[in-house]
Symmetry: C2
Subunit: 123 residues, 2 copies
DNA sequence: CCTTGCCTTGACGCTCGCGTCAAGGATTAC
DNA sequence: GTAATCCTTGACGCGAGCGTCAAGGCAAGG
């Protein structure tokens, strides 16, 4: 299939697919006229990228999964690098959660203080 | 004091201060030679901006606090707009927390699944 | 007078993941 | 034949918050 078809089937745009290619994530066969040609494996690859993007992975983070798929594995996370990326991301997310929790507490405290002052100032 | 002094005392850079000015957050008097001149109130203003930035507020979010200070209030969160911004930010942070928690669970599940497959594949 | 170190404005660079023209070639539908 | 719809590469835009030159003015020390 051609790039427009793949984009439609994957629910994305041709621009995104070309961008993935520029990042070395997606390689296409070329037809004699220069058009990119994709197969079902490429669709699975794009789907994998999208799934990971949706859970906050950067494009670069999806690389191990994509290479895992390309090396013949049945799923993108059947390789050590992918597992390692999962772990790294988990730790990253935990860090964000800690920071956000602390920030939430800080804002809440500031809000409470400000309201207490407002109350105290009122006669 | 001049911009370099203010930057040093606030622990930031002259570039940041000029940027705040370009965003309408910080106004400076001008000396006859064109140099910016700041006073202690400006330092407090910059400090307020930094405090809010540290808890994830965008520069734009700090605007109500800055204007509250400039309108003569003793603290930046003594105005209704600031309180409202606190609330908005709290809700925003809660949204991030929800999303992150869901994402964390998703990654954990994927990791568990992948490891289970790895185990199952091993004889 | 010369150097050093402050200050001025202006403008481009950076990250990320594409969106959005632009200019042109290929294919398909009528 | 020709209009509409694909495809190609290339290049700029965006948003946030500055960093980093560039080119020059002003002030102070020796």
């Amino acid at each position: 299939m051609r790039i427009g078809d793949l984009a439609q089937r994957a629910g994305t745009t041709t621009r995104a697919l070309r961008f993935y290619e520029s990042q070395g994530l997606l390689m296409a066969q070329r037809a004699p006229n220069g058009y990119r040609e994709y197969d079902e494996d490429d669709l699975r690859l794009v789907t994998e990228i999208q799934t990971l993007q949706n859970i906050g992975f950067s494009l670069d983070d999806t690389r191990p999964f994509v290479e895992c798929l390309r090396s013949g594995h049945e799923s993108g996370d059947s390789c050590a690098d992918s597992i390692e990326t999962y772990r790294r991301k988990l730790a990253e997310v935990d860090g964000y959660l800690d920071r956000l929790t602390a920030i939430r507490a800080g804002i809440q405290t500031k809000l409470d203080d400000a309201q207490a002052r407002q109350q105290g100032a009122r006669p």
